[in-house]
Symmetry: C2
Subunit: 332 residues, 2 copies
Protein backbone atom coordinates (compact mmCIF):
# COMPACT_ATOMS: atom_id res chain seq x y z
CA UNK A 1 0.00 0.00 0.00
CA UNK A 2 1.14 3.50 -0.88
CA UNK A 3 0.37 6.09 1.78
CA UNK A 4 0.22 9.71 0.66
CA UNK A 5 0.19 12.61 3.08
CA UNK A 6 -2.16 15.11 1.52
CA UNK A 7 -3.24 18.72 1.63
CA UNK A 8 -5.53 20.15 -1.05
CA UNK A 9 -4.91 20.86 -4.74
CA UNK A 10 -1.26 19.71 -5.03
CA UNK A 11 -2.06 16.45 -3.29
CA UNK A 12 -5.21 15.91 -5.32
CA UNK A 13 -3.25 16.32 -8.55
CA UNK A 14 -0.52 13.93 -7.46
CA UNK A 15 -3.13 11.37 -6.38
CA UNK A 16 -4.89 11.76 -9.75
CA UNK A 17 -1.52 10.96 -11.34
CA UNK A 18 -0.95 8.04 -9.00
CA UNK A 19 -4.20 6.27 -9.89
CA UNK A 20 -2.97 6.21 -13.50
CA UNK A 21 0.07 4.11 -12.55
CA UNK A 22 -1.12 1.97 -9.61
CA UNK A 23 -4.43 0.46 -8.52
CA UNK A 24 -6.51 3.09 -6.66
CA UNK A 25 -7.34 0.57 -3.93
CA UNK A 26 -3.60 0.26 -3.22
CA UNK A 27 -3.46 3.94 -2.23
CA UNK A 28 -4.34 5.51 1.12
CA UNK A 29 -4.47 9.30 1.34
CA UNK A 30 -4.09 10.71 4.86
CA UNK A 31 -5.58 14.18 4.53
CA UNK A 32 -5.10 17.39 6.48
CA UNK A 33 -8.21 18.43 8.42
CA UNK A 34 -6.81 21.50 10.17
CA UNK A 35 -8.51 23.69 7.52
CA UNK A 36 -11.93 22.33 8.50
CA UNK A 37 -14.51 24.72 9.80
CA UNK A 38 -18.17 25.12 10.63
CA UNK A 39 -20.04 27.85 8.77
CA UNK A 40 -23.85 28.22 8.53
CA UNK A 41 -23.87 25.23 10.91
CA UNK A 42 -22.29 23.07 8.21
CA UNK A 43 -19.12 21.06 8.79
CA UNK A 44 -16.77 21.78 5.88
CA UNK A 45 -13.62 19.76 5.22
CA UNK A 46 -11.96 21.54 2.27
CA UNK A 47 -8.92 19.32 1.72
CA UNK A 48 -10.91 16.09 1.96
CA UNK A 49 -13.43 17.50 -0.52
CA UNK A 50 -10.74 18.67 -2.94
CA UNK A 51 -9.10 15.24 -2.91
CA UNK A 52 -12.43 13.41 -3.21
CA UNK A 53 -13.83 15.63 -5.97
CA UNK A 54 -10.57 15.46 -7.94
CA UNK A 55 -10.35 11.67 -7.75
CA UNK A 56 -14.05 11.44 -8.66
CA UNK A 57 -13.35 13.58 -11.71
CA UNK A 58 -15.87 16.22 -10.66
CA UNK A 59 -13.58 18.95 -9.34
CA UNK A 60 -13.50 22.41 -10.83
CA UNK A 61 -10.06 22.68 -12.45
CA UNK A 62 -10.29 26.46 -12.79
CA UNK A 63 -10.87 27.35 -9.15
CA UNK A 64 -8.99 24.55 -7.39
CA UNK A 65 -12.01 24.09 -5.10
CA UNK A 66 -15.62 23.06 -5.49
CA UNK A 67 -17.29 21.07 -8.20
CA UNK A 68 -17.30 21.47 -11.97
CA UNK A 69 -20.50 22.75 -13.56
CA UNK A 70 -21.71 24.24 -10.30
CA UNK A 71 -24.79 26.42 -9.89
CA UNK A 72 -25.02 29.16 -7.28
CA UNK A 73 -28.71 29.57 -6.46
CA UNK A 74 -28.30 29.34 -2.68
CA UNK A 75 -25.29 31.70 -2.55
CA UNK A 76 -27.08 34.23 -4.73
CA UNK A 77 -30.12 34.13 -2.45
CA UNK A 78 -27.89 34.36 0.62
CA UNK A 79 -26.31 37.48 -0.85
CA UNK A 80 -29.77 39.02 -1.24
CA UNK A 81 -30.36 38.27 2.45
CA UNK A 82 -27.11 39.98 3.42
CA UNK A 83 -25.69 36.71 4.71
CA UNK A 84 -22.12 35.51 5.04
CA UNK A 85 -20.97 34.72 1.50
CA UNK A 86 -17.17 35.07 1.48
CA UNK A 87 -16.89 31.29 1.63
CA UNK A 88 -18.53 30.21 -1.64
CA UNK A 89 -20.62 27.05 -1.50
CA UNK A 90 -22.11 25.82 -4.77
CA UNK A 91 -25.47 24.07 -4.85
CA UNK A 92 -24.05 20.61 -5.59
CA UNK A 93 -21.15 21.10 -3.20
CA UNK A 94 -23.64 22.00 -0.46
CA UNK A 95 -25.02 18.47 -0.60
CA UNK A 96 -21.64 17.16 0.57
CA UNK A 97 -21.69 19.45 3.59
CA UNK A 98 -25.33 18.70 4.41
CA UNK A 99 -24.59 14.99 4.19
CA UNK A 100 -21.48 15.21 6.37
CA UNK A 101 -23.09 17.42 8.99
CA UNK A 102 -26.21 15.28 9.27
CA UNK A 103 -24.19 12.04 9.57
CA UNK A 104 -21.90 13.55 12.20
CA UNK A 105 -24.94 14.79 14.14
CA UNK A 106 -26.12 11.17 14.07
CA UNK A 107 -22.83 10.13 15.67
CA UNK A 108 -20.75 9.11 12.65
CA UNK A 109 -17.06 10.01 12.81
CA UNK A 110 -15.38 12.18 10.19
CA UNK A 111 -13.54 9.03 9.02
CA UNK A 112 -16.78 7.16 8.48
CA UNK A 113 -18.41 10.03 6.60
CA UNK A 114 -15.31 10.57 4.48
CA UNK A 115 -15.35 6.93 3.52
CA UNK A 116 -19.09 7.02 2.73
CA UNK A 117 -18.72 10.10 0.55
CA UNK A 118 -15.75 8.61 -1.32
CA UNK A 119 -17.75 5.42 -1.95
CA UNK A 120 -20.78 7.41 -3.17
CA UNK A 121 -18.53 9.29 -5.55
CA UNK A 122 -16.98 6.07 -6.85
CA UNK A 123 -13.50 6.85 -5.53
CA UNK A 124 -11.30 3.77 -5.09
CA UNK A 125 -8.49 5.47 -3.18
CA UNK A 126 -8.92 5.13 0.58
CA UNK A 127 -9.29 8.69 1.87
CA UNK A 128 -8.71 9.09 5.60
CA UNK A 129 -8.71 12.28 7.66
CA UNK A 130 -5.49 12.72 9.64
CA UNK A 131 -7.63 12.71 12.79
CA UNK A 132 -11.25 12.43 13.87
CA UNK A 133 -10.43 14.88 16.65
CA UNK A 134 -10.64 18.61 15.96
CA UNK A 135 -7.29 20.18 15.04
CA UNK A 136 -7.58 23.75 13.79
CA UNK A 137 -4.95 25.95 12.16
CA UNK A 138 -4.90 29.36 13.85
CA UNK A 139 -2.86 32.20 12.37
CA UNK A 140 -1.76 35.32 14.24
CA UNK A 141 -1.98 38.07 11.65
CA UNK A 142 -1.24 41.79 11.65
CA UNK A 143 -4.16 44.17 11.78
CA UNK A 144 -4.56 47.94 11.75
CA UNK A 145 -6.99 49.39 14.29
CA UNK A 146 -10.74 48.85 13.71
CA UNK A 147 -11.34 52.53 12.96
CA UNK A 148 -9.22 52.08 9.85
CA UNK A 149 -11.88 49.82 8.37
CA UNK A 150 -15.25 50.62 6.87
CA UNK A 151 -18.40 49.39 8.64
CA UNK A 152 -16.44 48.69 11.81
CA UNK A 153 -14.86 45.66 10.19
CA UNK A 154 -11.21 45.42 11.20
CA UNK A 155 -9.04 46.20 8.19
CA UNK A 156 -6.30 43.63 7.92
CA UNK A 157 -2.98 45.14 6.98
CA UNK A 158 -1.58 44.10 3.62
CA UNK A 159 2.10 43.57 2.97
CA UNK A 160 4.16 46.70 2.53
CA UNK A 161 1.71 48.95 4.31
CA UNK A 162 3.21 51.45 6.70
CA UNK A 163 3.63 49.98 10.16
CA UNK A 164 1.29 52.03 12.33
CA UNK A 165 -0.43 50.79 15.45
CA UNK A 166 -0.18 47.18 14.36
CA UNK A 167 -2.10 44.75 16.50
CA UNK A 168 -2.07 41.00 16.21
CA UNK A 169 -5.24 39.00 15.92
CA UNK A 170 -5.57 35.25 15.73
CA UNK A 171 -7.89 34.06 12.97
CA UNK A 172 -8.95 30.72 11.55
CA UNK A 173 -7.43 29.21 8.43
CA UNK A 174 -10.33 29.94 6.08
CA UNK A 175 -10.56 33.53 7.33
CA UNK A 176 -6.90 33.87 6.37
CA UNK A 177 -6.92 31.83 3.20
CA UNK A 178 -10.28 32.70 1.64
CA UNK A 179 -11.67 35.82 3.32
CA UNK A 180 -8.32 37.67 3.43
CA UNK A 181 -7.00 35.89 0.30
CA UNK A 182 -3.77 35.18 2.25
CA UNK A 183 -2.71 38.80 1.72
CA UNK A 184 -1.98 39.65 5.35
CA UNK A 185 1.33 39.19 7.18
CA UNK A 186 1.40 36.15 9.46
CA UNK A 187 3.36 36.26 12.72
CA UNK A 188 2.62 32.81 14.10
CA UNK A 189 0.85 29.57 13.25
CA UNK A 190 -0.45 27.00 15.69
CA UNK A 191 -2.59 23.89 15.43
CA UNK A 192 -5.17 24.14 18.18
CA UNK A 193 -6.14 20.74 19.53
CA UNK A 194 -3.18 18.88 18.02
CA UNK A 195 -1.68 18.06 21.43
CA UNK A 196 -4.73 15.98 22.33
CA UNK A 197 -5.59 14.66 18.88
CA UNK A 198 -5.13 11.04 17.95
CA UNK A 199 -4.56 9.85 14.39
CA UNK A 200 -7.80 8.62 12.81
CA UNK A 201 -8.45 4.84 13.01
CA UNK A 202 -6.12 2.95 10.67
CA UNK A 203 -3.74 5.84 10.01
CA UNK A 204 -0.85 4.59 12.16
CA UNK A 205 -1.28 1.03 10.87
CA UNK A 206 -1.34 2.26 7.26
CA UNK A 207 1.87 4.25 7.75
CA UNK A 208 3.58 1.43 9.64
CA UNK A 209 2.86 -1.11 6.92
CA UNK A 210 3.08 1.11 3.84
CA UNK A 211 5.43 -0.06 1.11
CA UNK A 212 5.69 3.56 -0.03
CA UNK A 213 5.15 6.81 1.82
CA UNK A 214 4.87 9.94 -0.27
CA UNK A 215 4.47 13.50 0.93
CA UNK A 216 2.46 15.54 -1.56
CA UNK A 217 3.61 18.91 -2.87
CA UNK A 218 1.34 20.66 -0.38
CA UNK A 219 1.98 23.70 1.78
CA UNK A 220 4.63 22.56 4.32
CA UNK A 221 3.46 24.95 7.03
CA UNK A 222 -0.32 24.70 6.89
CA UNK A 223 -1.10 21.46 5.00
CA UNK A 224 1.65 19.01 6.01
CA UNK A 225 2.65 20.55 9.36
CA UNK A 226 -0.76 19.81 10.96
CA UNK A 227 -0.19 16.07 10.40
CA UNK A 228 3.24 16.36 11.99
CA UNK A 229 1.71 18.22 14.93
CA UNK A 230 -0.03 15.00 15.94
CA UNK A 231 2.67 13.38 18.07
CA UNK A 232 1.90 9.74 17.32
CA UNK A 233 1.74 10.44 13.60
CA UNK A 234 5.05 12.29 13.59
CA UNK A 235 6.75 9.58 15.64
CA UNK A 236 5.47 6.86 13.32
CA UNK A 237 6.75 8.77 10.29
CA UNK A 238 10.16 9.25 11.90
CA UNK A 239 10.56 5.51 12.59
CA UNK A 240 10.46 4.87 8.86
CA UNK A 241 12.28 8.03 7.78
CA UNK A 242 14.54 6.29 5.28
CA UNK A 243 11.57 5.19 3.18
CA UNK A 244 9.68 8.48 3.07
CA UNK A 245 9.76 10.58 -0.11
CA UNK A 246 8.51 14.15 -0.32
CA UNK A 247 7.80 16.42 -3.26
CA UNK A 248 8.78 20.07 -2.89
CA UNK A 249 5.84 22.44 -3.43
CA UNK A 250 8.28 25.31 -4.03
CA UNK A 251 9.56 25.67 -7.61
CA UNK A 252 11.99 28.42 -8.49
CA UNK A 253 11.44 29.94 -5.06
CA UNK A 254 7.69 30.33 -5.43
CA UNK A 255 4.60 28.30 -4.65
CA UNK A 256 2.63 27.16 -7.69
CA UNK A 257 -0.54 27.93 -5.76
CA UNK A 258 -1.33 29.55 -2.43
CA UNK A 259 0.83 31.33 0.13
CA UNK A 260 3.49 28.67 0.88
CA UNK A 261 6.35 30.88 -0.35
CA UNK A 262 5.27 33.90 1.61
CA UNK A 263 4.50 31.90 4.76
CA UNK A 264 7.94 30.19 4.63
CA UNK A 265 9.64 33.59 4.65
CA UNK A 266 7.33 35.03 7.32
CA UNK A 267 8.04 32.03 9.55
CA UNK A 268 11.82 32.44 9.11
CA UNK A 269 12.44 29.70 6.56
CA UNK A 270 13.92 29.84 3.10
CA UNK A 271 11.33 29.85 0.32
CA UNK A 272 13.03 27.17 -1.73
CA UNK A 273 13.45 23.42 -2.03
CA UNK A 274 16.26 23.84 0.51
CA UNK A 275 13.89 25.44 3.02
CA UNK A 276 11.51 22.52 2.50
CA UNK A 277 14.37 20.03 2.95
CA UNK A 278 15.27 21.59 6.31
CA UNK A 279 11.67 21.13 7.49
CA UNK A 280 11.27 17.56 6.22
CA UNK A 281 14.75 16.09 6.80
CA UNK A 282 14.02 14.91 10.37
CA UNK A 283 11.35 12.45 9.13
CA UNK A 284 11.82 12.03 5.36
CA UNK A 285 14.91 10.89 3.45
CA UNK A 286 14.29 11.94 -0.15
CA UNK A 287 13.11 15.21 -1.69
CA UNK A 288 11.87 15.41 -5.26
CA UNK A 289 12.56 18.86 -6.68
CA UNK A 290 11.82 20.50 -10.01
CA UNK A 291 14.22 20.71 -12.95
CA UNK A 292 14.14 24.48 -12.49
CA UNK A 293 15.82 23.97 -9.11
CA UNK A 294 18.47 21.47 -10.28
CA UNK A 295 21.22 23.77 -9.00
CA UNK A 296 19.82 23.42 -5.46
CA UNK A 297 20.36 19.64 -5.36
CA UNK A 298 23.71 19.83 -3.52
CA UNK A 299 22.20 22.11 -0.88
CA UNK A 300 19.22 19.76 -0.42
CA UNK A 301 21.67 16.89 0.04
CA UNK A 302 23.63 18.98 2.51
CA UNK A 303 20.46 19.03 4.62
CA UNK A 304 20.66 15.24 4.80
CA UNK A 305 18.13 14.32 2.13
CA UNK A 306 18.62 12.46 -1.10
CA UNK A 307 17.56 14.65 -3.98
CA UNK A 308 15.73 13.67 -7.16
CA UNK A 309 15.36 16.23 -9.93
CA UNK A 310 12.42 15.93 -12.31
CA UNK A 311 9.49 17.82 -13.79
CA UNK A 312 7.21 18.45 -10.78
CA UNK A 313 4.76 20.88 -12.40
CA UNK A 314 1.62 18.79 -12.92
CA UNK A 315 0.14 20.86 -15.74
CA UNK A 316 -1.35 17.81 -17.48
CA UNK A 317 -2.61 14.40 -16.30
CA UNK A 318 0.36 12.79 -18.09
CA UNK A 319 2.82 14.94 -16.16
CA UNK A 320 1.02 14.10 -12.90
CA UNK A 321 1.28 10.38 -13.72
CA UNK A 322 4.95 10.79 -14.53
CA UNK A 323 5.67 12.59 -11.25
CA UNK A 324 3.68 9.92 -9.37
CA UNK A 325 5.82 7.22 -10.96
CA UNK A 326 9.07 8.99 -10.07
CA UNK A 327 8.01 9.36 -6.44
CA UNK A 328 6.86 5.75 -6.20
CA UNK A 329 10.13 4.53 -7.71
CA UNK A 330 12.04 6.78 -5.31
CA UNK A 331 10.60 4.87 -2.36
CA UNK A 332 12.13 1.63 -3.61
Amino acid sequence: VIVTLAGGVGAARLLAGMVQVVKPTDITAVVNTADDMVIHGLYISPDIDTVTYTLAGISNPETGWGMAGETWVTMHELELLGGTTWFRLGDRDLATHLYRTQRMSEGASLSQVTSELAASRGVGVRIVPMSDDPVRTRLSVEIVPPDGGADGIPLLRSAGQEQIDITIEEIGFQQYFVKQRHQVPVRAIRFAGAENARPAPGVLEAIATATHLIVSPSNPLVSIAPLLAIGELRDMLATRRDHNVAVSPIVGGVALKGPADRLLVEMGHESSAVGVARLYAPWASTLVIDNADAALAPRVEAEGMKCIVTDTVMSTPAKAASLAKVTIDACE
Copy 2:
Protein backbone atom coordinates in the same frame (compact mmCIF):
# COMPACT_ATOMS: atom_id res chain seq x y z
CA VAL B 1 -51.96 46.94 16.91
CA ILE B 2 -53.53 43.66 15.80
CA VAL B 3 -51.86 40.59 17.27
CA THR B 4 -52.36 37.32 15.40
CA LEU B 5 -51.48 33.94 16.88
CA ALA B 6 -50.09 31.98 13.98
CA GLY B 7 -49.23 28.50 12.81
CA GLY B 8 -48.33 27.84 9.18
CA VAL B 9 -50.43 27.93 6.03
CA GLY B 10 -53.82 28.92 7.52
CA ALA B 11 -52.24 31.74 9.48
CA ALA B 12 -50.19 32.89 6.51
CA ARG B 13 -53.32 33.12 4.36
CA LEU B 14 -55.24 35.07 6.98
CA LEU B 15 -52.31 37.46 7.43
CA ALA B 16 -52.09 37.91 3.66
CA GLY B 17 -55.77 38.87 3.80
CA MET B 18 -55.20 41.16 6.75
CA VAL B 19 -52.52 43.25 5.03
CA GLN B 20 -55.13 44.06 2.37
CA VAL B 21 -57.40 45.72 4.92
CA VAL B 22 -55.00 47.21 7.51
CA LYS B 23 -51.46 48.61 7.43
CA PRO B 24 -48.93 45.75 7.63
CA THR B 25 -46.93 47.63 10.26
CA ASP B 26 -50.02 47.58 12.52
CA ILE B 27 -49.92 43.76 12.62
CA THR B 28 -47.82 41.53 14.88
CA ALA B 29 -47.79 37.79 14.17
CA VAL B 30 -46.76 35.62 17.12
CA VAL B 31 -45.70 32.40 15.44
CA ASN B 32 -45.50 28.81 16.64
CA THR B 33 -41.91 27.53 16.84
CA ALA B 34 -42.63 24.07 18.27
CA ASP B 35 -42.26 22.62 14.74
CA ASP B 36 -38.68 23.90 14.52
CA MET B 37 -35.91 21.40 14.07
CA VAL B 38 -32.25 21.00 13.23
CA ILE B 39 -31.46 18.86 10.19
CA HIS B 40 -28.13 18.75 8.33
CA GLY B 41 -26.97 21.12 11.09
CA LEU B 42 -29.41 23.76 9.84
CA TYR B 43 -31.96 25.42 12.10
CA ILE B 44 -35.33 25.25 10.34
CA SER B 45 -38.37 27.23 11.50
CA PRO B 46 -41.17 26.07 9.18
CA ASP B 47 -44.07 28.20 10.43
CA ILE B 48 -42.01 31.39 10.55
CA ASP B 49 -40.81 30.69 7.02
CA THR B 50 -44.30 29.96 5.71
CA VAL B 51 -45.61 33.22 7.19
CA THR B 52 -42.62 35.22 5.96
CA TYR B 53 -42.59 33.76 2.45
CA THR B 54 -46.35 34.19 2.09
CA LEU B 55 -46.29 37.83 3.20
CA ALA B 56 -43.28 38.44 0.91
CA GLY B 57 -45.27 37.00 -1.96
CA ILE B 58 -42.67 34.33 -2.65
CA SER B 59 -44.34 31.25 -1.17
CA ASN B 60 -45.19 28.21 -3.21
CA PRO B 61 -49.00 28.13 -3.31
CA GLU B 62 -49.10 24.55 -4.56
CA THR B 63 -47.11 22.90 -1.79
CA GLY B 64 -47.98 25.14 1.16
CA TRP B 65 -44.29 25.22 2.07
CA GLY B 66 -41.10 26.48 0.48
CA MET B 67 -40.60 29.13 -2.17
CA ALA B 68 -42.17 29.58 -5.58
CA GLY B 69 -39.96 28.85 -8.59
CA GLU B 70 -37.58 26.73 -6.55
CA THR B 71 -34.73 24.66 -7.94
CA TRP B 72 -33.58 21.43 -6.33
CA VAL B 73 -29.91 21.03 -7.21
CA THR B 74 -28.72 20.38 -3.65
CA MET B 75 -31.51 17.90 -2.82
CA HIS B 76 -30.90 16.01 -6.05
CA GLU B 77 -27.19 15.75 -5.26
CA LEU B 78 -27.98 14.74 -1.67
CA GLU B 79 -30.18 11.95 -3.04
CA LEU B 80 -27.26 10.69 -5.13
CA LEU B 81 -25.17 10.64 -1.95
CA GLY B 82 -27.81 8.58 -0.14
CA GLY B 83 -28.42 11.41 2.30
CA THR B 84 -31.48 12.33 4.32
CA THR B 85 -33.93 13.84 1.85
CA TRP B 86 -37.41 13.32 3.30
CA PHE B 87 -37.41 16.96 4.39
CA ARG B 88 -37.21 18.83 1.09
CA LEU B 89 -35.10 21.96 1.07
CA GLY B 90 -35.04 23.97 -2.16
CA ASP B 91 -31.93 25.85 -3.23
CA ARG B 92 -33.37 29.32 -2.54
CA ASP B 93 -35.05 28.18 0.66
CA LEU B 94 -31.69 26.80 1.86
CA ALA B 95 -30.32 30.34 1.96
CA THR B 96 -32.86 31.19 4.68
CA HIS B 97 -31.68 28.28 6.82
CA LEU B 98 -27.99 29.01 6.22
CA TYR B 99 -28.56 32.64 7.15
CA ARG B 100 -30.53 31.78 10.29
CA THR B 101 -28.09 29.12 11.47
CA GLN B 102 -25.04 31.31 10.91
CA ARG B 103 -26.58 34.29 12.72
CA MET B 104 -27.67 32.10 15.65
CA SER B 105 -24.16 30.62 15.84
CA GLU B 106 -22.94 34.22 16.10
CA GLY B 107 -25.21 34.70 19.12
CA ALA B 108 -28.31 36.25 17.52
CA SER B 109 -31.65 35.17 18.97
CA LEU B 110 -34.37 33.56 16.86
CA SER B 111 -36.37 36.81 17.29
CA GLN B 112 -33.55 38.91 15.91
CA VAL B 113 -32.97 36.62 12.94
CA THR B 114 -36.70 36.41 12.22
CA SER B 115 -36.88 40.18 12.17
CA GLU B 116 -33.79 40.44 9.92
CA LEU B 117 -35.19 37.92 7.45
CA ALA B 118 -38.58 39.64 7.34
CA ALA B 119 -36.87 42.98 6.68
CA SER B 120 -34.70 41.47 3.91
CA ARG B 121 -37.83 40.06 2.31
CA GLY B 122 -39.60 43.40 2.52
CA VAL B 123 -42.27 42.17 4.94
CA GLY B 124 -43.96 44.96 6.91
CA VAL B 125 -45.81 42.73 9.37
CA ARG B 126 -43.86 42.25 12.61
CA ILE B 127 -43.16 38.52 12.79
CA VAL B 128 -42.17 37.26 16.25
CA PRO B 129 -41.47 33.70 17.34
CA MET B 130 -43.62 32.66 20.30
CA SER B 131 -40.37 32.09 22.22
CA ASP B 132 -36.61 32.30 21.76
CA ASP B 133 -36.35 29.24 24.00
CA PRO B 134 -36.61 25.78 22.46
CA VAL B 135 -40.10 24.28 22.67
CA ARG B 136 -40.55 21.09 20.66
CA THR B 137 -43.70 19.18 19.80
CA ARG B 138 -43.23 15.48 20.56
CA LEU B 139 -45.80 12.94 19.45
CA SER B 140 -46.18 9.43 20.83
CA VAL B 141 -47.17 7.33 17.84
CA GLU B 142 -48.01 3.68 17.30
CA ILE B 143 -45.39 1.47 15.68
CA VAL B 144 -45.22 -2.19 14.65
CA PRO B 145 -42.02 -4.06 15.60
CA PRO B 146 -38.82 -3.28 13.68
CA ASP B 147 -38.78 -6.66 11.95
CA GLY B 148 -41.96 -5.61 10.18
CA GLY B 149 -40.03 -2.96 8.30
CA ALA B 150 -37.60 -3.22 5.43
CA ASP B 151 -33.96 -2.25 6.05
CA GLY B 152 -34.47 -2.39 9.81
CA ILE B 153 -36.47 0.84 9.69
CA PRO B 154 -39.39 0.64 12.11
CA LEU B 155 -42.58 0.43 10.12
CA LEU B 156 -45.09 2.87 11.51
CA ARG B 157 -48.56 1.47 11.65
CA SER B 158 -51.14 3.17 9.47
CA ALA B 159 -54.75 3.64 10.48
CA GLY B 160 -56.91 0.53 10.23
CA GLN B 161 -54.01 -1.90 10.29
CA GLU B 162 -54.48 -4.97 12.46
CA GLN B 163 -53.40 -4.29 16.03
CA ILE B 164 -50.46 -6.61 16.58
CA ASP B 165 -47.58 -5.99 18.96
CA ILE B 166 -48.09 -2.25 18.90
CA THR B 167 -45.38 -0.26 20.58
CA ILE B 168 -45.36 3.46 21.17
CA GLU B 169 -42.49 5.66 20.04
CA GLU B 170 -42.12 9.36 20.60
CA ILE B 171 -41.07 11.25 17.48
CA GLY B 172 -40.54 14.90 16.53
CA PHE B 173 -43.14 16.97 14.76
CA GLN B 174 -41.50 16.94 11.32
CA GLN B 175 -40.94 13.18 11.52
CA TYR B 176 -44.68 12.87 12.10
CA PHE B 177 -45.88 15.56 9.74
CA VAL B 178 -43.49 15.24 6.79
CA LYS B 179 -41.69 11.90 7.01
CA GLN B 180 -44.78 9.89 8.06
CA ARG B 181 -47.16 12.27 6.26
CA HIS B 182 -49.27 12.36 9.46
CA GLN B 183 -50.62 8.89 8.59
CA VAL B 184 -49.82 7.20 11.91
CA PRO B 185 -52.07 7.07 15.00
CA VAL B 186 -51.06 9.52 17.73
CA ARG B 187 -51.53 8.59 21.39
CA ALA B 188 -50.11 11.67 23.08
CA ILE B 189 -48.71 15.10 22.33
CA ARG B 190 -46.40 17.15 24.53
CA PHE B 191 -44.42 20.35 24.12
CA ALA B 192 -40.95 19.62 25.44
CA GLY B 193 -39.34 22.68 26.99
CA ALA B 194 -42.57 24.68 27.29
CA GLU B 195 -42.49 24.64 31.09
CA ASN B 196 -39.24 26.62 31.11
CA ALA B 197 -39.82 28.72 28.00
CA ARG B 198 -40.44 32.44 28.20
CA PRO B 199 -42.37 34.36 25.54
CA ALA B 200 -40.01 36.09 23.10
CA PRO B 201 -39.16 39.73 23.85
CA GLY B 202 -42.14 41.98 23.16
CA VAL B 203 -44.74 39.20 22.91
CA LEU B 204 -46.42 39.81 26.28
CA GLU B 205 -46.38 43.57 25.76
CA ALA B 206 -47.87 43.17 22.27
CA ILE B 207 -50.69 40.98 23.57
CA ALA B 208 -51.32 43.21 26.58
CA THR B 209 -51.67 46.34 24.45
CA ALA B 210 -53.24 44.84 21.31
CA THR B 211 -56.45 46.48 20.12
CA HIS B 212 -57.33 43.19 18.42
CA LEU B 213 -56.23 39.64 19.10
CA ILE B 214 -56.99 37.08 16.43
CA VAL B 215 -56.31 33.35 16.54
CA SER B 216 -55.60 32.03 13.04
CA PRO B 217 -57.33 28.98 11.60
CA SER B 218 -54.31 26.83 12.47
CA ASN B 219 -54.17 23.34 13.99
CA PRO B 220 -55.50 23.76 17.57
CA LEU B 221 -53.42 20.87 18.94
CA VAL B 222 -50.01 21.36 17.32
CA SER B 223 -49.93 24.97 16.06
CA ILE B 224 -51.91 27.00 18.62
CA ALA B 225 -51.52 24.70 21.65
CA PRO B 226 -47.72 25.24 21.83
CA LEU B 227 -48.28 28.96 22.40
CA LEU B 228 -50.77 28.16 25.17
CA ALA B 229 -48.26 25.77 26.71
CA ILE B 230 -46.10 28.77 27.63
CA GLY B 231 -47.61 29.74 30.97
CA GLU B 232 -47.04 33.49 30.81
CA LEU B 233 -48.46 33.66 27.31
CA ARG B 234 -51.58 31.69 28.24
CA ASP B 235 -52.14 33.79 31.35
CA MET B 236 -51.80 37.02 29.39
CA LEU B 237 -54.31 35.76 26.80
CA ALA B 238 -56.77 34.76 29.54
CA THR B 239 -56.67 38.24 31.14
CA ARG B 240 -58.09 39.69 27.93
CA ARG B 241 -60.34 36.76 27.02
CA ASP B 242 -63.35 38.90 26.12
CA HIS B 243 -61.46 40.59 23.29
CA ASN B 244 -59.93 37.50 21.68
CA VAL B 245 -61.41 36.15 18.45
CA ALA B 246 -60.52 32.77 16.94
CA VAL B 247 -61.20 31.26 13.54
CA SER B 248 -62.11 27.57 13.45
CA PRO B 249 -59.75 25.54 11.23
CA ILE B 250 -62.36 22.77 11.05
CA VAL B 251 -65.01 23.12 8.35
CA GLY B 252 -67.71 20.52 7.93
CA GLY B 253 -65.89 18.29 10.39
CA VAL B 254 -62.61 18.20 8.44
CA ALA B 255 -59.40 20.18 8.33
CA LEU B 256 -58.80 22.05 5.09
CA LYS B 257 -55.16 21.05 5.33
CA GLY B 258 -53.16 18.77 7.59
CA PRO B 259 -54.17 16.34 10.33
CA ALA B 260 -56.13 18.63 12.68
CA ASP B 261 -59.35 16.61 12.27
CA ARG B 262 -57.69 13.27 12.88
CA LEU B 263 -55.62 14.57 15.81
CA LEU B 264 -58.71 16.07 17.47
CA VAL B 265 -60.42 12.67 17.42
CA GLU B 266 -57.28 10.80 18.51
CA MET B 267 -56.87 13.18 21.45
CA GLY B 268 -60.50 12.68 22.51
CA HIS B 269 -62.00 15.87 21.13
CA GLU B 270 -64.78 16.43 18.64
CA SER B 271 -63.56 17.19 15.13
CA SER B 272 -65.83 20.19 14.61
CA ALA B 273 -66.15 23.88 15.37
CA VAL B 274 -67.70 22.76 18.68
CA GLY B 275 -64.59 20.76 19.56
CA VAL B 276 -62.48 23.85 18.78
CA ALA B 277 -64.80 26.03 20.91
CA ARG B 278 -64.31 23.72 23.90
CA LEU B 279 -60.53 24.08 23.57
CA TYR B 280 -60.52 27.87 23.08
CA ALA B 281 -63.38 29.00 25.34
CA PRO B 282 -61.19 29.39 28.47
CA TRP B 283 -59.16 32.18 26.85
CA ALA B 284 -61.11 33.42 23.79
CA SER B 285 -64.64 34.81 23.63
CA THR B 286 -65.60 34.60 19.95
CA LEU B 287 -65.33 31.82 17.38
CA VAL B 288 -65.67 32.49 13.68
CA ILE B 289 -67.05 29.40 11.92
CA ASP B 290 -67.84 28.58 8.31
CA ASN B 291 -71.24 28.91 6.64
CA ALA B 292 -71.17 25.16 6.17
CA ASP B 293 -71.27 24.81 9.96
CA ALA B 294 -74.04 27.36 10.59
CA ALA B 295 -76.12 24.70 12.32
CA LEU B 296 -73.36 24.32 14.96
CA ALA B 297 -73.64 27.95 16.11
CA PRO B 298 -75.94 27.18 19.07
CA ARG B 299 -73.58 24.44 20.27
CA VAL B 300 -70.58 26.79 19.98
CA GLU B 301 -72.50 29.36 22.03
CA ALA B 302 -73.37 26.68 24.57
CA GLU B 303 -69.61 26.32 25.11
CA GLY B 304 -69.54 29.96 26.20
CA MET B 305 -68.28 31.59 23.01
CA LYS B 306 -69.99 34.09 20.78
CA CYS B 307 -70.30 32.64 17.30
CA ILE B 308 -69.89 34.41 13.97
CA VAL B 309 -70.83 32.53 10.80
CA THR B 310 -69.12 33.52 7.55
CA ASP B 311 -67.13 32.16 4.61
CA THR B 312 -63.85 30.99 6.21
CA VAL B 313 -62.39 29.12 3.23
CA MET B 314 -59.65 31.45 1.93
CA SER B 315 -59.56 30.12 -1.62
CA THR B 316 -58.78 33.56 -3.10
CA PRO B 317 -56.98 36.68 -1.82
CA ALA B 318 -60.35 38.51 -1.81
CA LYS B 319 -61.89 35.85 0.42
CA ALA B 320 -58.88 36.04 2.76
CA ALA B 321 -59.29 39.82 2.97
CA SER B 322 -62.97 39.41 3.67
CA LEU B 323 -62.37 36.90 6.46
CA ALA B 324 -59.67 39.15 7.90
CA LYS B 325 -62.14 42.04 7.98
CA VAL B 326 -64.81 39.95 9.71
CA THR B 327 -62.37 38.83 12.41
CA ILE B 328 -61.07 42.37 12.96
CA ASP B 329 -64.60 43.72 13.23
CA ALA B 330 -65.47 40.90 15.63
CA CYS B 331 -62.84 42.19 18.09
CA GLU B 332 -64.57 45.56 18.32
